[in-house]
């Protein structure tokens, strides 16, 4: 892993988690999946769509890709603060 350098964004996300659970970021994100997904979607999403119609048979695919982003994560007693790092 390479260290990320840049400016911290002001748009922070606070995710709650029970104090007795382990401080695993993956588990915390899974626990608050919808909040994190809607938060990261607003930061930017790449959409690639393909649709093909051959002999009146239609097939389509939509790919939604989250761009690689660095985050600063602060663990507290009962919540986690996540703020993206903007590259300079």
């Amino acid at each position: 892993m390479k260290p990320c350098r840049g400016k911290l964004s002001l748009k922070k996300l606070y995710l709650e988690y029970p104090a007795y659970e382990s401080k695993s970021l993956r588990l915390i994100l899974l626990h608050n999946y919808d909040d994190f997904f809607s938060y990261i979607m607003k930061m930017g999403l790449s959409v690639t769509s393909h649709e093909k119609v051959v002999k009146n048979h239609s097939s389509s695919s939509i790919e939604v890709t989250l761009p690689t982003t660095c985050f600063k994560v602060e663990f507290n007693d009962s919540f986690v603060t996540i703020s993206p790092i903007k590259k300079e």
Binding site: M41, S46, S49, E51, K55
Partner: protein, 189 residues
């Protein structure tokens, strides 16, 4: 006597051709080319009997060519005018649809998956509206009959700050209303 008349007529016609080209709205090298072309036409098509045909070819060659006037503003330039203007916001609203898969373990999972598909569909619709769609069509015709017809569409875009306004789920179909606000200041930042 006859040949001297022909020679004078030829000279007069050449002068007329040069004047006719100079009267047109052309300039520079193109104008020079036209002059050369008209003079060549007048001299090469001369035969012993048909002097009248010489004059016809000259006049038609100068009349058929359009005047080379530089257009001031074409229709393409008008269509490329800025849609976004300072201190104005455009709201684009779409409704994306998603269907839950058949083999789900619970209604909650079906809803979650259908919603995710609906969001992706809404993003695609926004991308199509904002950026446009590439369309590729191909028809194969043999013996005057269509053997194969295919249409492919594709779009690629990066979308930021889209908001989910409303979500409805009924009969396995999830509809997500999504909107994005485009402002001149945000884009030019």
């Amino acid at each position: 006597m006859k040949w001297s008349l022909i020679a004078t007529l030829l000279f007069v016609l050449n002068v007329y051709a040069v004047e006719a080209v100079q009267d047109g709205n052309c300039s520079g090298s193109e104008c020079q080319k036209k002059q050369e072309q008209s003079v060549q036409n007048s001299t090469t098509t001369v035969n012993e009997d048909g002097l009248v045909s010489v004059a016809d070819t000259k006049v038609s060659s100068t009349q058929d060519e359009k005047p080379c006037v530089v257009p001031k503003e074409s229709s393409e330039d008008k269509s490329n005018q800025n849609i976004l203007k300072p201190h104005r916001t455009i709201v684009i609203s779409v409704v994306g649809q998603g269907v839950a898969p058949v083999n789900t373990t619970s209604p909650a999972q079906a809803f979650a998956l259908a919603k995710r598909a609906a969001i992706a569909d809404a993003y695609r619709l926004i991308a199509e509206k904002v950026k446009g769609v590439e369309i590729e069509g191909e028809d194969l015709i043999k013996n005057m009959m269509v053997k194969r017809s295919s249409v492919r569409t594709s779009v690629y875009a990066m979308i930021k700050n889209a908001n989910v306004v409303e979500t409805t789920f009924r009969d396995g179909l999830c509809e997500v209303e999504m909107e994005i606000r485009l402002s001149y200041e945000d884009i030019m930042r």
